[in-house]
């Protein structure tokens, strides 16, 4: 029975299947043609468009497959035929696996193997991508299709879902007085899509059997809209709650136990690196101890509270107005032990004017993540071409301006989330400053599914200042001997620290107009 239904659907949808298969193969082909350096640039846009067309095409095919035998209403002919509902569902699922994921697997494996990755690894990653997409994309689309009669109705339903979720998120923004969601633009931003995926998966696995077994459309729609209304929930959650979950998910929480942060007044303000900064910014001298070697501590968020002599809270807020990966406080060390740095804290002008001259008690709550080095490799700086376990297939070349080395890597699965890159010349031991490229993602399971099973990452490594303001130890004249050193870091522990400075006058640590600080190593 399943085979008969499959063949019937195939006869109706083979053209759509063929178009989707061609689009998937074109997607893989385009990304392969772009290579690690993703050139030419114009083709990147085309490849990105095609990658979204693949998702759109898959959604259309899934919907069309389900709606070949519409589930809502009472006039469909198949309802009065001796067709087993379970067989119908199985036939649809098998059809989607074969027609959507078959070409997807072939395209992913072809792309991976053509890029020089081992067949076994490529198949594993391609399968993982397919399973992941099947659970968080196919099933929810399937569920919406099972609740609608036509493609237009399904599209309208998806649009309505998007609209309701957007309103929910906007309501969250209003509740927070316009502030963005608490863990947006942090390593914890995986939580929102993960929550949505979980919600979509749970709703779909409830709706699909309900529709196929009982055709209980009203109940199934109630489940769908219940899930949609729950979707913006995380927009209302707090940082503390989310970070508690993240701490619980730490791969190795104990490793961060020795780490402590202390106020270090002996560290002179003059030691701060010259970085332009604004008025109302304080450079707080700190000492971070207990670090293991080859470690990075990322400040996910820090909240400072200033308490006056009378015990009244004068100010409470984040230490930086930036939404980013804690650019005020990235601590990196290759030797381990102790690191001293100036933490840049920006206060609103009104607050700063109020507190700069008076002694206050400062309390800072840090939410921190410890990264440990996971892999290190080097590649020739000029026209390098190499394959590495951690970084994938990488290539280098000098950019058109002649001031940067362009590094591009293609890897099966997810890209490394935090990489430090430095240009070095082993023949004379010179080394340019290390630059971190971090897009932390603290998801316990890092699954990559877009634009295909391969991920792409890259960086521009400066060796020459076109304005002639800075001089690099390894400059253009040494590129033939130079190499790019890459280190990949993985998050191992999420932890909190509470720093109390009983008596401080912030004006003593103010940054002037020309001096600011990020860190000292």
């Amino acid at each position: 029975m399943i085979w008969r239904i499959f063949r019937k659907d195939w006869a109706q949808l083979w053209l759509l299947v063929a178009i989707l298969a061609v689009t998937q193969i074109a997607n893989a082909g385009l990304w392969f043609a772009l290579g690690p350096l993703e050139e030419p640039q114009g083709l990147v846009v085309a490849a990105q468009i095609v990658s979204y067309l693949v998702l759109l095409g898959a959604a259309v095919l899934i919907t069309a497959t389900v709606q070949q035998d519409v589930l809502i209403g009472v006039s469909q002919d198949w309802l009065v035929r001796p067709i087993r509902r379970g067989a119908l569902l199985c036939a649809k699922l098998i059809f989607i696996i074969v027609t959507v994921h078959g070409p997807m697997l072939v395209a992913d494996v072809a792309h991976g193997t053509a890029s020089g990755f081992p067949l076994r690894d490529t198949i594993g990653v391609a399968l993982a991508r397919s399973v992941y997409l099947a659970l968080i994309f196919d099933l929810p689309v399937f569920a919406v299709a099972a609740l609608t009669r036509t493609l237009v109705q399904a599209a309208a339903t998806l649009l309505a879902i998007w609209f309701v979720v957007a309103i929910g998120i906007a309501a969250g923004l209003l509740v927070r007085g316009g502030a963005p969601p608490p863990f947006a633009a942090s390593g914890m931003q995986w939580m929102t899509p993960a929550f949505w995926s979980l919600l979509a998966f749970c709703a779909a696995t409830a709706i699909i059997p309900l529709q196929y077994r009982h055709r209980a459309t009203s109940r199934a729609r109630a489940i769908l809209w219940g899930a949609v209304l729950l979707a913006p929930l995380l927009s209302f959650s707090t940082w503390a709650a989310a970070f508690s979950v993240q701490r619980f998910l730490s791969p190795d929480a104990a490793i961060a136990q020795p780490i402590a942060i202390a106020f270090e007044p002996s560290l002179e303000r003059a030691a701060a690196e010259p970085v332009a900064t604004s008025a109302g910014t304080v450079l707080l001298p700190l000492r971070v101890i207990g670090l293991a070697s080859e470690a990075i501590v990322m400040n996910d968020r820090a909240v400072i509270r200033l308490v006056g002599r009378d015990g009244r809270t004068l100010y409470s807020g984040r230490t930086t107005v930036n939404i980013g990966y804690g650019d005020d406080f990235p601590v990196g060390t290759s030797e381990g032990g102790e690191v001293r740095l100036h933490q840049r804290i920006a206060f609103p002008d009104r607050i700063y004017k109020l507190v700069r001259a008076q002694p206050v008690r400062a309390e800072i709550d840090y939410s921190l993540t410890l990264f440990r080095v996971a892999a290190a490799s080097t590649i020739a700086a000029l026209n390098g071409d190499g394959r590495f376990m951690a970084f994938g297939w990488c290539r280098t070349e000098v950019d058109a301006d002649g001031d940067d080395i362009e590094l591009g890597c293609t890897r099966i699965g997810s890209a490394p989330q935090c990489v430090t890159i430095a240009l070095e010349n082993p023949s004379n031991g010179r080394r340019n400053p290390e630059t971190p490229y971090c897009e932390p993602d603290y998801a316990p399971l890092s699954l990559h599914f877009h634009p295909d099973a391969m991920s792409h990452f890259g960086a521009d490594i400066k060796f020459h200042d076109l304005q002639q303001l800075a001089k690099y130890p390894v400059d253009g004249s040494q590129l033939a001997d130079a190499r790019v050193s890459l280190k990949s870091y993985e998050p191992v522990a999420h932890f909190t620290r509470h720093l109390v400075i009983p008596d401080i006058r912030l004006g003593d640590w103010a940054a002037d107009a020309t001096a600011g600080a990020t860190q000292l190593r």
Partner: protein, 300 residues
């Protein structure tokens, strides 16, 4: 009984589509369910096919609760409806090829006879068929497996005379070998093949009866009087649609009996010159009864 309904209610919000409906369809009969638009015929049939569930009450088809119809029962029920959505992109032949293996009793020779008789173009897509063609297509998909029960929901609605004839011809090919439950508000076309009738009005059953008994007890009576006729003030309840014109009184007697008509006439209208009692078409029976029920209620 091949179909049995027991006190079925179906509510849509505050609207009662079916109100305590009970009737039975004997095996081998051609059972016609008559009623005006909105009387509840389609709701009844969709409930029997388990396309919708009753709010309360109990119904069985082929001895099985309609809510528990299995593949075994569905393989013995043919269904044709004016609102039947078949896969529009499939061709006539393609869809029949698809359906054939689902029915163990499918008869390919009968299929070929039907396709020829109904003049269905095998290569045409279903969505390109006219309304009449689609109904014939539905019949062509409902008969080849020789169902025990054929359910037809308004099968003649909107068909022109030629297509109607072709449809009925196709139906007659197998009629007599199965039980047929047919709903219609077009009585004239199916009167000839009907053995049992049930009349529905606003979700309730007016009555259910064998057609022969019904036709025997219902007569259009025309009485010629000696003097000017007038509508009697105290006419028996069984006299419906009483009209007086000149010295002629006419009415429909729903409990006609040749033996006692003269006595009843004498008691009500006095001296009678001539009486003529003619059999009545089902359509007239239905419209007269429905009008009477609507106006005041009548003993059936």
């Amino acid at each position: 009984m091949i179909v049995h309904l027991d006190n079925i209610w179906k509510k849509y919000g505050r609207f009662d589509a079916l109100r305590g409906l009970s009737f039975s369809v004997p095996e081998g009969s051609v059972f016609a369910l008559f009623g005006a638009n909105g009387a509840g015929k389609t709701t009844t049939i969709k409930m029997l096919m388990n396309l919708i569930g009753p709010t309360t009450g109990h119904a069985t088809v082929l001895g099985v609760n309609t809510r528990a119809l299995s593949l075994k029962e569905l393989a013995q029920i043919g269904y044709v409806s004016e609102n039947q959505d078949m896969p529009g992109r499939m061709t006539v032949a393609g869809y029949i090829d698809y359906l054939r293996p689902f029915y163990p009793t499918w008869d390919r020779a009968l299929e070929a006879d039907l396709l020829g008789m109904l003049r269905l173009p095998p290569d045409r897509r279903i969505k390109d068929l006219s309304h009449g063609m689609r109904l014939k297509m539905a019949l062509a998909c409902a008969l080849p497996f020789r169902p025990k029960l054929l359910v037809l929901d308004e099968p003649l609605s909107g068909l022109d005379a030629l297509v109607r004839d072709e449809f009925m011809e196709g139906l007659m090919l197998e009629a007599g070998k199965m039980t047929v439950l047919i709903s219609s508000h077009e009585l004239a076309e199916i009167e000839e093949i009907t053995t049992h009738v049930a009349f529905l009005d606003r979700g309730a059953l007016l009555f259910q009866e064998e057609k022969a008994d019904l036709k025997a007890r219902v007569r259009a009576v025309q009485v010629t009087l000696e003097s000017e006729a007038c509508v009697p003030a105290m006419a028996p309840q069984q006299w419906l649609d009483i009209r007086a014109k000149g010295n002629v009184l006419s009415f429909m007697d729903i409990q006609y009996s040749e033996g006692n008509l003269a006595a009843r006439l004498a008691a009500v209208v006095g001296v009678v010159r001539h009486v003529e009692a003619r059999p009545v078409a089902l359509r007239s029976v239905y419209t007269t009864l429905a009008r009477a029920v609507r106006d005041e209620g009548v003993q059936k």
